[in-house]
């Protein structure tokens, strides 16, 4: 059974701090790893990673994948209160008929204090 483990489960930081969120995975036939941000209801897509060592960057957020050690990290620099959210890590698992489903971790709840 495919598995995704995120750490820490919750984190409280002050504005301006830099944070690193961790995601480790076990999956049959790895294809990609995805990061989502969930503020109120719907998770919104951040990054998809497929290759080791290649950093994906979007503003103050960046992410990298290590396929040898089976983990990914999500970095947020100069955190702002708007970064407060649950960050979800997910991997696609083959579900049959040419389709994939996402296996999610429990998420890391980030709280940024002014």
């Amino acid at each position: 059974e495919d598995k995704v483990v995120q750490s820490p489960l919750s984190l409280v930081v002050h504005e301006g701090d830099t944070v690193t969120l961790n995601c480790s995975y076990e999956v049959t036939n790895f294809r990609s790893l995805l990061w989502y941000k969930q503020e109120k209801k719907a998770p919104t897509f951040l990054f998809m990673l497929t290759s080791s060592g290649i950093e994906k960057k979007s503003g103050r957020l960046s992410s990298i994948l290590d396929k040898k050690e089976l983990f990914s990290i999500l970095n947020i620099t100069a955190t702002q209160t708007g970064d407060s959210a649950v960050y979800l890590c997910a991997v696609p698992s083959y579900s049959g008929a040419g389709s994939y489903q996402l296996t999610f971790g429990k998420g890391t709840k980030l709280s940024v204090i002014p």
């Binding site: 995704v4 294809r31 990609s32 995805l34 989502y36 209801k41 719907a42 998770p43 919104t44 897509f45 998809m48 979800l88 997910a90 696609p92 579900s95 049959g96 008929a97 040419g98 389709s99 994939y100 489903q101 996402l102 296996t103 999610f104 971790g105 429990k106 998420g107």
Partner: protein, 114 residues
């Protein structure tokens, strides 16, 4: 581009009552997913459709949950009868290419069973 639409946004029912949720995916997305997200957990897949066929419903509690996507577009998820432990956010998502890439999530329905 219009996003994934879901209704209702909130629902409160008593245990043993029935409830139905509706989802309209992004136009052209063949794959549709229903997830259950219990507080403090990542989303858990309930059922995955490819067009109007079921790809995976292995985690759907079939004694009380049912879902259909008759014309391969919008979908309904029903719970009958509801139990207290069904209190959760029910998320609908859709994707191209069978979910290997990014999934787009709707705003979700928060169900409270009293």
């Amino acid at each position: 581009e219009a996003g994934v639409a879901q209704s209702p946004r909130y629902k409160i029912i008593e245990k043993r009552q029935s409830v139905a949720f509706w989802c309209n995916p992004i136009s052209g997305h063949a794959t549709l997913y229903w997830y259950q997200q219990i507080l403090g957990q990542g989303p858990k897949l309930l059922i995955q459709f490819q067009n109007n066929g079921v790809v995976d419903d292995s985690q759907l509690p079939k004694d009380r949950f049912s879902a259909e996507r008759l014309k391969g577009v919008d979908s309904t998820l029903k719970i009958q009868p509801a139990k207290l432990e069904d209190s959760a956010v029910y998320l609908c998502a859709s994707s191209l290419v069978g979910g290997l890439y990014e999934q787009y999530f709707g705003p979700g329905t928060r169900l409270t069973v009293t």
